[in-house]
């Protein structure tokens, strides 16, 4: 029994309005399985309605919005300095990465640029957020495939990075450290040496994961050749980040876009893989963790002296205008389109999150796979629910 693409689209279109309630009643052919909203594999509240024939998936429809927190609306009633606190919570695993594009957009509108030292430190925190995020991914990928133990190693080693973030900002998860024009504080004494030491540890962790998880035969059997996304399809669906690079598209905003951040001062490789399967996505993320360690080490060694805050007025008013700034976040391209009318707060903010676009390929990539493959594909696409629903 097969469902053609046009039939599926017709079905989805016809049921779009009431799919949220009625879809599980449609059991005339095949079984409808609701994966989520409460399901361990969706690590959050994503719901995936899958039509199954035995264990084979005929088609799926991801339903999102269970965790919609209305950030785009909330930021309209807040001043610019207040907004970083909110947007910290979008992709909660790498909070400082969420602040950066917004701050950059506001700075661009104001015509302010952070001092070089602040740019370096922002980049360091951005990359440390990436390390914490991808460390979690590596652990989580093991859990999705059924190996519990790597998760605990990931948790243990992520702690070092979080401790470093905490020792600077006071916040482990939500540092809220970036300000318009620079940073809140300078780093404490001895922090750089400690960070470089911890980057060595994280590189050791990457080696360990490469042997423990990616070198495992069963892991390879479960991920190689599963959920292959060709490059053109990935681009059509607007995939970004490691998911795109795993399909062989050499595209990285850190290198390709000239933003007032310190990536241009660091020497790093953009990792790509040609396979586009689950294994490639996992592998690319593992190598990116290594590259992030490299970037942090380099920037810590070359950190210039100087002020950490540019001259900005005490009460921040952003002149009227529009700006879109995106950075390469752990999940992919994250951008803020800020429309200002010259007030204390923005008139409208559109948040482009990576997970929302990455998850849009799910109906395409999950057709015809087996139920266990749903889990490994979702795990390797890697999304954060807060990042999907905002």
């Amino acid at each position: 029994m097969t469902v053609t693409e046009s039939e599926q689209l017709a079905y989805v279109a016809a049921k779009a309005a009431d799919a949220r309630v009625n879809v599980e009643l449609e059991t005339d052919d095949g079984m409808t399985l609701n994966i989520g909203p409460q399901h361990p594999a969706t690590h959050g509240t994503l719901r995936i309605v899958a039509k199954l024939d035995g264990e084979q998936v005929l088609w799926v429809e991801p339903i999102m919005g269970y965790m919609h927190r209305g950030y785009e609306k909330l930021v309209e009633v807040r001043t610019y300095p207040q907004i970083t606190t909110l947007v910290n919570r979008i992709d909660w695993l790498a909070a400082s990465c969420n602040e950066v594009p917004f701050i950059l957009a506001a700075e661009q509108l104001m015509g302010v640029e952070a001092p070089l030292r602040a740019q370096y430190l922002r980049t360091i925190f951005h990359e440390m957020g990436r390390i914490a995020h991808l460390t979690m991914f590596l652990g989580d990928m093991g859990v999705q495939i059924g190996a519990l133990t790597p998760m605990f190693y990931a948790m243990r080693d992520r702690e070092f990075v979080l401790n470093q973030t905490e020792s600077v900002s006071g916040g482990r998860f939500h540092p809220n450290f970036n300000r318009i024009g620079g940073l809140k504080d300078d780093i404490p004494k001895g922090w750089l040496d400690e960070t470089i030491r911890i980057m060595r540890k994280m590189e050791a962790f990457c080696d360990q994961m490469e042997e423990l998880l990616l070198g495992n035969e069963i892991f390879e059997q479960r991920t190689r050749g599963i959920g292959i996304i060709p490059a053109e399809i990935a681009q059509q669906y607007g995939l970004t980040g490691a998911n795109l690079r795993a399909s062989g598209v050499d595209w990285d905003l850190r290198r390709d876009v000239d933003s007032p951040m310190a990536w241009k001062h660091a020497d790093f490789d953009v990792i790509t893989h040609t396979d586009g399967d689950c294994y490639a996505r996992t592998w690319v993320r593992l190598q990116e963790t290594r590259e992030a360690c490299k970037i942090v080490t380099q920037l810590c060694e070359d950190l210039p002296a100087g002020p950490i805050m540019a001259k900005v007025p005490r009460i921040i008013k952003v002149p009227a205008g529009e700006a879109y700034v995106a950075t390469e976040n752990p999940l992919g391209e994250m951008g803020y389109y800020v429309v200002s009318q010259g007030d204390l707060g923005p008139f409208r903010v559109k948040i482009r999150t990576a997970s929302f676009h990455n998850i849009s390929i799910v109906p395409w990539v999950l057709r015809g796979v087996y139920v266990p493959d749903i889990i490994s594909i979702l795990g390797s696409l890697y999304f954060i629910l807060g990042d999907i629903d905002r």
């Binding site: 190996a147 069963i218 266990p372």
Partner: protein, 345 residues
């Protein structure tokens, strides 16, 4: 005649029933504490339970107490009778499995003259637990349960065959199905005329042991073959709707089955309750035997749980392919080789 005491038949029967209960619950509890709580915690960079009792040794009682207090929820759409019955079938299977395992020269629960089929009986009754699992999955009226139960059924049937075939090598070598006589055959056996350590079948039947271990892992639904209960896919599979006492029964069933299979593996391949240098007929073996057997079971339990927390999970079709295309041919080759060598030597 047990432990040198003269007992009436009813007294002996009561002792034997209590003995089976102890034989089921003690290894199961030991496995849970030593392996699931502690060994795995140390593997995973944590301490495990530390508060209840010294080093958390009373944690198991706390867990049981917690489970007993919980409400026994039956889903609305469930088939109530079957739903309530299923966990008892699973646990009863384990009790039946233990019946033929010998713990000492006289420490047997059923006399051999009534029950000489031994290992054949074990293989037969251990399959009954599938019925309990399918009942649980179907009666829960949950799609996840159903998927889990069907996976369990397919898997347990696929791995029953290599399990049985791997044992046949031992049976050919010992010349008997009776577990007690398999122990005696290992104790009195000789390796090319050298009889100091007997002839534990692990030496000659290592392929059989390998297949037995793999099939046992699948039969127990432990990682890498834990698709029936895969928590990241079917969220616990057939027992997803169970709470309280009934969940506890499934839990005990899982670990007691692990104990039972470990006991059978120890009996078949490691010489059971006997150790080299000990008197096979002596009365003290009735006390020492269970301890030796438990120690050997712990070896197998350690391997089972070490693998469980080391490997990821295979996919259902990969597992079936592995069973039919690799394990069963290998087991048949092993049987052939054993048969030929038995005739030659």
């Amino acid at each position: 005649m047990m432990l040198g005491l003269e007992l009436a038949y009813w007294q002996e029967s009561i002792l034997r029933s209590l003995g089976v209960l102890a034989a089921v619950l003690l290894p199961a509890g030991t496995f849970v504490y030593v392996f699931l709580f502690k060994m795995v915690s140390f593997m995973q960079n944590r301490l495990g339970p530390m508060e209840a009792g010294p080093y958390g040794s009373m944690q198991l009682l706390a867990e049981v107490g917690k489970a007993l207090q919980k409400e026994d929820v039956v889903p609305d759409a469930a088939d109530r009778t079957l739903f309530k019955m299923a966990p008892y079938i699973v646990v009863a299977t384990v009790l039946l499995t233990y019946v033929v395992v010998p713990f000492g020269p006289d420490m047997v629960f059923i006399d051999n003259q009534f029950f000489g089929t031994g290992i054949f009986y074990v293989m037969a009754v251990s399959s009954i637990s599938v019925i309990g699992i399918i009942l649980a999955g179907w009666a829960s009226a949950s799609k996840y349960s159903l998927l889990g139960a069907l996976r369990a059924a397919g898997q347990l049937i696929a791995y029953e065959l290599p399990l049985v075939l791997s044992v046949i090598g031992v049976v050919i070598q010992a010349g008997t199905l009776d577990l007690q006589r398999i122990v005696v055959a290992q104790a009195t056996g000789e390796i090319f005329g050298w009889g100091a350590i007997g002839n534990p079948f692990i030496l000659t039947q290592f392929i059989g042991l390998l297949i037995f271990m793999i099939a046992m892992q699948a039969e127990l639904a432990q990682t890498p073959f834990d698709m029936p209960v895969a928590e990241s896919e079917v969220v616990g599979g057939y027992h997803v709707e169970y709470t309280g006492l009934r969940f506890l029964l499934f839990f005990i069933g899982e670990f007691a089955t692990a104990g039972a299979f470990a006991a059978i593996a120890a009996t078949l391949f490691l010489g059971g309750w006997w150790l080299p240098g000990l008197d096979l007929e002596a009365n003290y073996m009735n006390v020492l035997g269970p301890i030796i057997l438990l120690a050997k079971m712990m070896v197998f339990g350690g391997i089972i749980f070490f693998i469980r927390f080391t490997y990821p999970r295979l996919r259902e079709d990969q597992l079936q392919r592995f069973a039919w295309k690799f394990l069963i041919p290998l087991a048949l080759v092993n049987i052939t080789a054993t048969g030929i060598l038995k005739v030659v030597f």
